[in-house]
Amino acid sequence: MGEFKVHRVRFFNYVPSAIRCVAYNNQSNRLAVSRTDGTVEIYNLSANYFQEKFFPGHESRATEALCWAEGQRLFSAGLNGEIIEYDLQALNIKYAMDAFGGPIWSMAASPSGSQLLVGCEDGSVKLFQITPDKIQFERNFDRQKSRILSLSWRPSGTHIAAGSIDYISVFDVKSGSTVHKMIVDRQYMGVSKRKCIVWGVAFLSDGTVISVDSAGKVQFWDSATGTLVKSHLIANADVQSIAVANQEDSFVVGTAEGTVFHFQLVPVTSNSGEKQWVRTKPFQHHTHDVRTVAHSPTSLISGGTDTHLVIRPLMEKVEVKNYDAALRKITFPHRRLISCSRKRQLLLFQFAHHLELWRLGSTVATGKNGDTLPLSKNADHLLYLKTKGPENIICSCISPCGSWIAYSTASRFFLYRLNYEHDNLSLKRVSKMPAFLRSALQILFSEDSTKLFVASNQGALHIFQLSGGSFKHLHAFQPQSGTVEAMCLLAVSADGNWLAASGTSAGVHVYNVKQLKLHCTVPAYNFPVTAMAVAPNTNNLVIAYSDQQVFEYSIPDKHYTDWSRTVQKHGFHHLWLQRDTPITHISFHPKRPMHILLHDAYMFCIIDKSLPLPNDKTLFYNPFPPTNESDVVQRRTAHAFKISKIYKPLLFMDLLDERTLVAVERPLDDIIAQLPPPIKKKKFGT
């Protein structure tokens, strides 16, 4: 299959932001996740937990609450005091509305979904009516003394519970007045703490209010009498989050020690109707605070400061014990943050607020499999490009020739021209961007770096001509009438004639760049596209979907290739289908047209289309190097999938030239080293 020199890059100093909120939408089986930098991500749990959409963050917009309302409308609220609604089609912010109550700490949608409740810093609880295209302030509830940190509706919609500092208030929704005020004990392990913060409340339909607080307690209250029914001390630190299942037979809490506890309503004796809440399972998947939890019908979802999104299926709820029943830990975004210039061997790293440009080193030595070669030149850090303004970078790209860099934030598009004079690098911003080009979801340069393709958030695809430093708008492919769906993935053929674009759900469209018209649409598929690329020479479009299927579509012939049909008929190896990270990049070998190179976070694979496909009985991946010549030959010809799992977690892998690969790894240990220290727990008398 070939020997490669691999540039193993570990200096991409990327640290994901901590997870602040998660909100599960039962209707669409989607999960919204907000991070401390304001980014909101949408995961499709039905599509193999693929992160299908994201909204870039904003420095001043720290989200504190996230909720779905009115079916599939997503709202967030944060410390800037604004309530934001997201446009899930166009992938931008529909509107932001100031609640005029200071920072917002909590938000809850009514059980019917038509009303929205926010809890503010000044102690006010504000009720908003959700209208078809906006929200409208309705009224205030009785003002409380201190900030409202948590809110929960009674499923019947008649009452709400609001957690504040040192007490929980129960409001009557009709009158807006406080019915009960339940004081939470400040005692913490016998010592009186300064304050007891009620981090979360949950109102059950039978009138029970469950609260979690900073003293490590989970408490059950009777909202009719305002009395404490039961108290569980579960942690030495704060219990920061709670989520109840729809059936109200189980709930989950997350603590600052990184533990997630599952509580279940179980009968007291085997055949009595009397039931009680019992702490059943502790899970320790996090090292840091679990800031937020969610409870889907089949799994517990948690996230926190350690940046992992953990989805823990409940085994008793999983009907088929297949691979979906396994624990999922999502750490890295399912999109590319890295682009590379093959010609100049440059890597462009995208961070939230800056870009870094690195030049790879070189070596003259050769070696055999597994050797580390001595460097004749180390990698250079060429450029640190900081964005202007508080917005996060959405996407970025460096041209294959290395002389253009483009990136976009939510409101501005930037294009830079790079000049290399010996060792000096000069950077010049291309000014006078057209007014219609405000924000891009994906940027791509053609192979010869003469064209720039931009997928704007209005659904249009723009083509620009780049020549010598000048910049000219050529054409815009407008979205089909009636759809506003944004395109998130672009692929262009090596000859620059074909442009493929994929949206979140509408399938893949192929445009003819010469004739500037829509060429064809790839047959629709149920799962979102995770990566695609057009093969040189043949102009076959290779598409990877989130269910781990890979298709090859011939653009000139407008149908799936024979190989793709064979693969579909034969089926992929079960180990291939069981991978839990999506393929994020596909590339091709210039000299070997039969090879497809693809990678996900844990493996790098070359598919040799000329070799037979593996069936479920063949050994799919053999980590051990072959011992003798015959074994080498045997393994080389055994089946089409040649896999390497040496580099992980692998964020990017591309072919620089025929014999050189670049692999960008981000070891988890390096991320953990940059996180704040976790709460120290006593272990074994230390």
Partner: protein, 718 residues
């Protein structure tokens, strides 16, 4: 109201109790722990609440314990006397009684007496008494004779009266009884003679005593079945004069006069005494609690397996030997009420009532007890009457099986059992199997000719039985020398006590070859000896051995070479299995069984020496076979593992080393074993060296993996 609670057996270890029973049960400084001295060589420390032994000590073979072990409450040490004159003192940490403190005395010891709050006393057979400290200061001191010739000490007790120790002992000479009371504050010894009433010839069976303010109240149980009370003044009026004691009748005929077994009496508290014996001549023995004041029977408990006529009472527990195991019956006495004192007649079991099965079926709720079963039965009868024409009886196979077990022939039982097992998983499967086994075993005991081997084997193979469920099964199999059944039991029972394992081993080793040939034992654990594929393997093995040492570096080069060569030469002679294949299969079953070393060791000592050597030879043969292949396993389906083999070699040698060392025919074997150990030690030391170097390599490897931020590597995909 005095009540006897549910009895329990102190572990399943069967004590070595002869016809005389145990030597004694004594308190220790911890309230819950008791020292039990058996009538042989062993002292066991039991924790009653846990129902398990905490420790066990034995004297050497050939020695015999002559006086029950006691605890020195002041130091917490234990004291025992063996061979009449040798005193041993040890504590919990000691393992071997041979290595503990030893004092040889000049006279024979009768008893050692120890109570809380004072130092132990040693009572010599001649009647002299010494404090332990004084005695140990000069063990060979001269001991005077107190009692006359032919006078024998029958019973003794040690009290603290007004903080002063008082010793009372009773002697017997030609049917005359004498009581001696030794005061230790005044060093006065008073002698009393018992004056009997009308019936001069009655023998006193058992004594017990309690202390009142001024008197020692001595109760005695005579052979006529009556309890008499004698009051002995603590402060004698005239110590020099020989005084007489009159005894008064307290109870009449509490036990039958002509009891075959021993009877025993012990005072429980001021008002209650416990009597062990058969109340009527023909009936079984029972333990009864009598109220002295009201002269009523308070409680009684039948002990169907018989006792040794010994009874001890400490704290709230009554200890006795029931059958062959030490049984504890907790005794409690609440405040008496009149109603309670009016007495409770011993309830006899009405033969008509349904006996509650002692196997609880965990799979069906137990609520429907008697009534349900009866109604079911009646319903069944009704239904049977209705459809009398139908040929198939409606009785469930389980019921039918149980009834067959009691009456029918072996053949018939077998057919029924097969029928039942074919249906298999009925909800009451466990209980039926349990009841069937107990039924069969009871019948086996009653009819010596009845021995349904096939049935018992089938039942054993159901995997439902265990030793504790039917201890008689193995006992009967041992009696009948049914090695086939014993092998099955060893394979299937998880809880066989070490004594029984050892008994099985004895049978397996002693049974004659020709009688073995007739039996049909399971041979799957034995590999085919005739199979000679070992030539090539053998070479491999020597290579491995040589890799273990480095002949250049090793100092005892010569001896190593010898070692390397020897096994090769020896294999020729040892390739022949020392036992026939069937015996090997049986022995393998022993090797696979679970055991605890502490409890196995004393029993292993009882195996004859030639059997020990045979077993050792077999084990050595297995070891050689094991080391022939690189994985250190034996061929076959379920062979003994190397660890099991080595453990048993060690155990056997530990238990019988002195015996084996003296035997000329075992000498060769011992030398071989010695060399084997030596070679193992050197191999392991080499392995340790290798481990260190491997660790270094691992460290280097880790450093290699820990790359910097950027590197260029070569990757080849296959």
């Amino acid at each position: 109201m005095a009540s006897l609670e549910e009895e329990f057996t102190l572990s399943s270890v069967v004590l070595n109790a002869g016809s005389e029973g145990l030597l004694g049960v004594e308190q220790t400084s911890k309230t819950d722990q008791f020292l039990v001295t058996d009538n042989g060589r062993t002292v066991i420390l039991y924790k009653v609440s846990d129902q398990k032994p905490l420790g066990s000590w034995s004297v050497k073979q050939g020695q015999i314990i002559t006086c029950p072990a006691v605890c020195n409450f002041q130091t917490g040490e234990y004291i025992v006397v063996h061979d009449n004159k040798v005193l041993r003192i040890w504590n919990n940490e000691d393992v071997n009684l041979d290595k503990v403190f030893k004092a040889t005395l000049s006279a024979e010891v009768c008893r050692i007496l120890s109570v809380q709050g004072t130092e132990p006393l040693v009572l010599f057979k001649e009647g002299a008494v010494r404090g332990l400290e004084a005695l140990l200061a000069e063990p060979q001191q001269k001991i005077e004779t107190v009692i006359s010739d032919e006078e024998v000490i029958k019973w003794t007790k040690f009290f603290i009266v007004f903080r002063h120790p008082v010793l009372i002992f009773i002697t017997e000479k030609h049917g005359n009884y004498f009581a001696y009371v030794q005061m230790f504050n005044s060093r006065v010894l008073s002698k009393y003679t018992f004056l009997f009433g009308q019936d001069e010839n009655s023998i006193i069976e058992s004594f017990t005593a309690s202390v009142d303010r001024k008197f020692i109240s001595l109760m005695s149980l005579s052979s006529d079945g009556c309890i008499y009370e004698t009051l002995i003044p603590i402060r004698p009026t005239d110590p020099e004069k020989n005084q007489s004691l009159v005894r008064s009748l307290l109870f009449k005929a509490v036990v039958s006069g002509d009891a075959r077994h021993g009877v025993a009496l012990t005072v429980l508290d001021q008002d209650h005494v416990a009597v062990l014996g058969s109340p009527l001549a023909a009936s079984k023995e029972c333990l009864s609690v009598w109220n002295i004041k009201f002269q009523t029977l308070q409680n009684s408990k039948e002990l169907p397996q018989g006792t040794s006529g010994q009874l001890w009472y400490y704290g709230e527990n009554l200890f006795m030997l029931h059958g062959r195991s030490l049984t504890v019956i907790p005794y409690k006495c609440e405040v008496s009420s009149l109603a309670g004192a009016l007495g409770k007649l011993k309830h006899s079991q009405d033969p008509g009532t349904h006996v509650v099965p002692h196997f609880v079926n965990w799979e069906t709720p137990q609520e429907c007890g008697l009534g349900a079963q009866n109604s079911e039965q009646s319903r069944r009868i009704l239904r049977r009457r209705k459809i009398e024409v139908s040929l198939q009886p409606e009785v469930p196979p389980s019921k039918q099986l149980l009834s067959t077990v009691m009456k029918d022939s072996e053949k018939h039982i077998e057919v029924e059992l097969r029928k039942f097992l074919a249906i298999k998983q009925t909800p009451d499967f466990h209980t039926v199997i349990g009841d069937t086994v107990t039924g069969l075993l009871e019948r086996c005991k009653a009819e010596p000719s009845f021995y349904p081997q096939n049935c018992l084997m089938q039942l054993t193979q159901t995997h439902v039985l265990s030793y504790s469920l039917c201890p008689d099964l193995m006992e009967i199999a041992l009696q009948k020398k049914d090695v086939q059944l014993l092998q099955l039991c060893l394979q299937h029972f998880p809880d066989i006590p070490e004594l029984v394992t050892c008994a099985c081993l004895k049978v397996f080793l002693s049974i004659a070859d020709d009688s073995l040939q007739e039996t049909d034992v399971n041979m799957e654990s034995v590999f085919d000896c005739s199979n000679s594929v070992r030539d090539e393997k053998m070479e491999e093995q020597t290579e491995i051995l040589q890799n273990g040492f480095n002949p250049e570096e090793d100092k005892c080069n010569k001896c190593d070479q010898e070692l390397n060569e020897k096994p090769q030469a020896k294999t020729k002679e040892t390739t022949l299995c020392p036992v026939i294949a069937k015996r090997a299969a049986l022995l393998n079953a022993i090797l696979h069984s679970a055991y605890s070393e502490t409890f196995l060791l004393p029993h292993l000592k009882d195996i004859p020496a030639q059997h020990i050597t045979l077993f050792l030879k077999y084990l050595y043969f297995l070891y050689l076979k094991c080391s022939e292949n690189a994985t250190l396993t034996l061929p076959g389906i379920h062979p003994p593992t190397l660890n099991q083999i080595m453990d048993w070699i060690c155990l056997l040698l530990d238990a019988n080393f002195t015996v084996v060392v003296m035997m000329p025919e075992a000498k060769r074997l011992l030398i071989n074993l010695y060399k084997l150990v030596k070679s193992q030690i050197s191999v392991y030391s080499e392995l340790n060296k290798i481990e260190v170097s491997f660790r270094e390599l691992q460290k280097l490897n880790q450093e290699k993996n820990n790359r910097g931020l950027y590197s260029i590597e070569v990757l080849e995909l296959f």
